[in-house]
């Protein structure tokens, strides 16, 4: 057997490009300074919405970046198609996948996942008597678990947006959704009934990548942590 040092193995295993998956939308702006101080800033075209490419380079050698929908970040990371990424803890809760680690809270994108219902329903309703509820949500898994834990069966209607419309149009009486200030709820005649979780964005890592490239991934985790705590 030939003598191969740990450094050689690491160098070999590190020879393939890594992929950083970032969510489209408003979070990008908030995490840009963190990426910059961690040495992972994407090239300019990445932030240009008219640029039709999907894969870009970063200032870090050997790290490419893709922009995808926030739920898809979790999918890419879980299956090892991307090695690192940024995903909201709401997405991670819903996805609940054993191949994803979430080592750093980026402290951005803070909001809350709540149960809301129409004002009239909230006034008449007695939650103690529930055995079944119908809920419109983007988060059927979290919703089912949340209600199941208190002995209530949740029938979830999966919607991808504009959840706030559902109660007013008679689709259901309750929704589970993210709220930041509560103004969208208010504007649509809804009130918050219960909070399910505090939400913020996390730096996430694929499990196999963490195990096979600990130096590189660990280095980025440390830099991201420093960037978050320093900034």
């Amino acid at each position: 057997m030939t003598e191969v040092s740990m450094d050689d193995i690491q160098a070999l295993q590190s020879s393939e490009n890594m992929v950083l998956a970032l969510p489209k939308g408003r979070i990008l702006k908030a995490i840009r300074p963190i990426l910059k101080s961690a040495g992972l800033e994407p090239e300019e075209g990445f932030f240009d919405e008219n640029d039709r490419r999907l894969r870009f380079t970063t200032e870090a050698e050997g790290v490419d970046v893709i922009r995808v929908r926030s739920f898809d970040v979790a999918t890419f990371i879980a299956f090892g198609a991307a090695h690192m990424g940024v995903a909201g803890s709401d997405v991670l809760m819903e996805f609940d996948h054993p191949e994803i680690y979430a080592p750093v809270d980026l402290g951005v994108g803070a909001c809350r996942m709540v149960v809301a219902s129409s004002i009239e329903a909230a006034e008449q309703d007695d939650p103690r008597s529930w055995s079944h509820v119908r809920v419109a949500t983007k988060y059927p898994n979290v919703t089912k678990q949340y209600f199941a834990a208190r002995g209530v069966q949740a029938e979830c209607i999966k919607l991808n947006g504009a959840m706030e419309l559902a109660p007013g149009l008679g689709l259901c009486r309750r929704i589970v959704d993210l709220v930041e200030t509560g103004s969208t709820l208010k504007a649509n005649g809804l009130v918050e009934v219960e909070e399910i979780a505090q939400v913020s964005s996390r730096f996430v890592v694929n499990r196999a990548a963490w195990k096979t490239r600990p130096d590189q991934i660990g280095g980025f985790v440390e830099k991201i942590r420093d960037a978050v705590h320093g900034g």
Binding site: M1, V4, S5, I9, E16, Y101, R202, W210, T212, G218
Partner: protein, 385 residues
């Protein structure tokens, strides 16, 4: 009635139930070769082959120890003969443990056994669609030293290398370490499992700093790991410290035997370990999703005194095949039909991979080409095509 045409077209197209598939010739032979290679390595390292049945009584297969962990994921069938419920195996470790504690009870310990076979699961794992999985494994029953765990891990790594998987990482963890440090609630357990720094800080109480240091261990430079482990052991309860000590000893033994394998220590890793205590390990290859195999220390039965400390490894063939390079172009020899069956057998015995021509082949050479043969037998002589 509406589903009738559907059913008919499904059966004529050969639709299989979710998670089940046919292996085509190239993959089937690669899989068979990989199984043979891994088993022959295990045998040469002193692990004797055993072969348990596909189906067992539910109460013997799923009652306790490693079997109980998969009780919820096993198919059941009723045995019309005995009137009892039977379970189709979802994992083979429990069967090997059963063999060791009954029919091989009188054999000296540690008892080294190897096996291969297919298992069936109700739900696939989150990464792969397969519900029928092919396992190859080795177990050491009556194993209670770190040296045994290391010996078994080294056997698995060597077998994988010899089967052609060249780039290997083994990650060591102690699935019960968290319990040895403190009485953790579900919130903390989840936080540690996700390596979520903020939540570990929130739920970890006085132990938060210690837990974070343990979580950061894979990021520690190789030459500082020993010093770090020694320092951390001083801050932990005795049981926990001894688990960490075992990890470090096991890492040292594996590194000594397998210099070309990367060894990492992630002490609090518990993902995927259902019934293990003591050390656990998972084997990865870069670029392959999920692990190629996993193993570690377990107890054959938890609830009675007959239980034995054991260590074992299970390798997952579906993933190993993804880590192997495709087979090199192999040679095969076309034997014209006229040469006769005796020549076919004679050439096979000489070690040739033969393809026998059909009786009505007008142009043998054209048929040889159509079959993808590299050589053709002409007048008893082997000629390249």
């Amino acid at each position: 009635m509406a589903d009738q045409p559907d059913q008919k077209s499904r059966s004529s197209a050969g639709l299989l139930p979710a998670g089940l598939s046919d292996l085509m010739p190239e993959d089937a032979s690669r899989e068979a070769a990989a199984i043979a290679s891994i088993l022959s390595s295990f045998t040469a390292l002193g692990y004797q082959r055993v072969k348990p049945p596909l189906v067992e009584f539910e109460e013997t297969l799923l009652a306790d120890g490693p079997g109980a962990a998969l009780a919820g994921n096993s198919f059941r069938v009723m045995d019309p003969q005995s009137g009892q419920m039977m379970a189709i195996r979802a994992d083979m470790t429990a069967q090997i443990a059963r063999i060791a504690s009954t029919r091989l009870k009188h054999q000296p310990r540690p008892l080294r056994l190897a096996y291969s076979g297919d298992v069936l699961r109700v739900q696939p794992d989150p990464l792969n669609p397969e519900r029928q999985l092919t396992q190859v494994g080795a177990e050491m029953i009556g194993a209670h030293e770190t040296g045994h765990d290391a010996e078994l891990a080294v056997a698995a790594l060597a077998a994988l290398q010899d089967a052609g998987v060249t780039r290997l990482t083994i990650d060591l963890g102690a699935p019960r370490l968290l319990d040895a440090i403190l009485d953790a609630g579900d919130d903390l357990r989840q936080a540690v499992s996700a390596k979520d720094q903020m939540l570990v800080k929130r739920y970890g109480g006085d132990d938060a700093a210690l837990l974070q240091e343990l979580l950061d261990m894979p990021m520690t430079a190789a030459d500082q790991i020993d010093a770090k482990i020694t320092a951390l052991m001083g801050k932990m309860p005795k049981d926990a410290a001894s688990m960490l000590g075992e990890l470090s000893e096991m890492a040292r033994l594996i590194r000594g035997a397998m210099p070309d394998v990367m060894v990492t220590i992630d002490p609090l890793e518990s993902r995927g370990f259902d019934y293990h205590h003591g050390v656990g390990f998972a084997i990865f290859s870069p670029g392959i999703r999920g692990e190629l195999g996993r193993g570690g220390r377990y107890r054959t039965r938890l609830e009675d005194a007959m239980g034995e400390d054991s260590t074992g490894v299970t390798l997952y063939l579906e993933r190993i095949l993804r880590a192997l390079k495709p087979a090199e172009g192999q040679t095969s020899l076309y034997i014209p039909h006229d040469a006769g069956l005796d020549v076919l057998v004679a050439m096979m015995r000489q070690g040739e991979a033969c393809r026998f021509g059909s009786a009505d082949a007008k142009d043998p050479k054209a048929e040889a080409q159509a079959l993808g043969c590299s050589h053709i037998l002409i007048d008893g002589q082997k000629a390249p095509i």
